[in-house]
Amino acid sequence: MIQEPFAIGASPLHQTDPRLKIILATAYSFLVAVLQGFPALLTALVLSIALVAVARLDSRALFRRLGLANGLILFLWVLLPFTFPGKPLASIGPFALSLEGVRFCAQITLKSNAIILALIALVATSPIATLGYALHRLHVPAKMVLLLLLTYRYLFVLEQEYERLARAMRMRGFRPQTSLHTYRTYAYLVGMLFVRASARAERVHQAMLCRGFTGRFRTLKTFTLARRDWIWPFAAGCAMSGLIMLEWTTGWH
């Protein structure tokens, strides 16, 4: 259920310093999030697709992710064009399709996909454990990093715990329905998940203290910026200033 299909690979993006990738992904996401004009947004989408191409990712997993993320966008496409005020473009029965609404939806779709693709190409191409250490080097508070790494570490354990409880329920003939019994059963399942999690946390904590835990995870991993890594900030700088120029010249109406 929970997988990182993009984390392992041999592309140039997989080999780039994760600190750099986090910084670039953040800057790029924020820039694209504030773009307005269509030429700039389309260029951003093309840039993101180019990044994904450089990362050489499994296209099936990629499309599955995009499909998931576009669910809410689809919901907006159904609603916004009909609820926005503005020049009517066409009408279906009593509903008028507003030009404003369609424009806004198109904007959101382009932005959202450009940002998601860049996030996949830049950030999902590092294992999450590595990202945690990279965040630590980027001076994200130590408690935050520790919490992130611990949660990540036990996510899979608790997923298995959940699978085990769900299997036991099925073995006893549980069939989910719309009934109070079903909801109570799920509530007990969730409750048990929390109880097991809490008890495990206690044991893990004691084990950590026994091993001399002082509030820091140590790692032998060191990050070094290779000379070829410097191409990324340079390319990103050019691309992002290009986008800003494009927005400046064509985006203001």
Binding site: R65, I128, M144, L158, E161, A187, V190, H205, T214
Partner: protein
């Protein structure tokens, strides 16, 4: 409940980030290194729990669980939910870097509000406790839906109809969350009352198990 990348305007994104940072800061302040395993493990359980789908008629909804997480973690719900959302963004690309702040506030602020409102009532007489736990689950989702709407309307006022629709459409989810939280509290009271707030072991467990001398810096 979350908002995708690319929908919200810059002022809304920035306010979300500031509020999320403030909430997370308070959460971390109230939590020393001894609490991190508990918080992280419960954040992982929250992540897994929110993948569970329960049937509603012919369709199904996934659990939100921010009410119960608020009860179990108090202010620590802020960092826990933030971390869960980071992992969701990395695993599923639900939300992303720019919306992380807003989405954290959407999920965690109701959790903390419900904690502050209901933590004391939960240990009251059975009738009070049951009502409070239902209200906790219901209100947490209601406030989240309201915050989603607020974020959308602050971006553009034209979002008003969509926002009201989101709140109304989530009504069944609120009821289900209320029922689930009620039974969950009943279960925890029987099985592990120490996890619920107001119980002496809730505040002191970490301190008792690991006296001051052993606590890491």
């Amino acid at each position: 409940m979350h908002i995708s990348e690319g929908v919200l305007s810059a002022p809304v994104l920035i306010s979300g980030m500031v509020l999320a940072a403030a909430g997370t800061g308070i959460g971390f302040k109230k939590m020393d290194y001894n609490h991190i395993p508990q918080t992280g493990m419960l954040a992982a359980a929250f992540f897994v729990g929110s993948l569970i789908h329960v049937p509603v008629g012919p369709s199904s909804v996934h659990l939100v669980l921010n009410g119960i997480v608020g009860l179990l973690l108090g202010w620590a719900a802020f960092p826990a939910i933030l971390v869960a959302l980071v992992l969701q963004a990395l695993f599923f690309q639900y939300g992303g870097i720019t919306t992380l702040g807003v989405n954290t506030v959407i999920m965690a602020a109701p959790a903390v509000i419900c904690y502050l409102l209901f933590a004391r009532l939960i240990r009251g007489r059975p009738a009070v406790s049951l009502t409070a736990s239902f209200a906790c689950g219901f209100l947490a989702v209601f406030l989240s839906a309201l915050l989603v709407g607020l974020a959308l309307v602050s971006t553009r006022e034209d979002f008003f109809k969509v926002s009201s629709l989101i709140v109304v459409a989530n009504l069944p989810v609120m009821i289900i969350e209320g029922v689930l939280t009620l039974f969950c509290v009943v279960f925890l009271k029987k099985v592990q009352p120490g996890m619920l707030p107001g119980n002496p072991s809730f505040e002191t467990r970490a301190a008792v198990n690991h006296p001051a001398g052993s606590s890491p810096p």
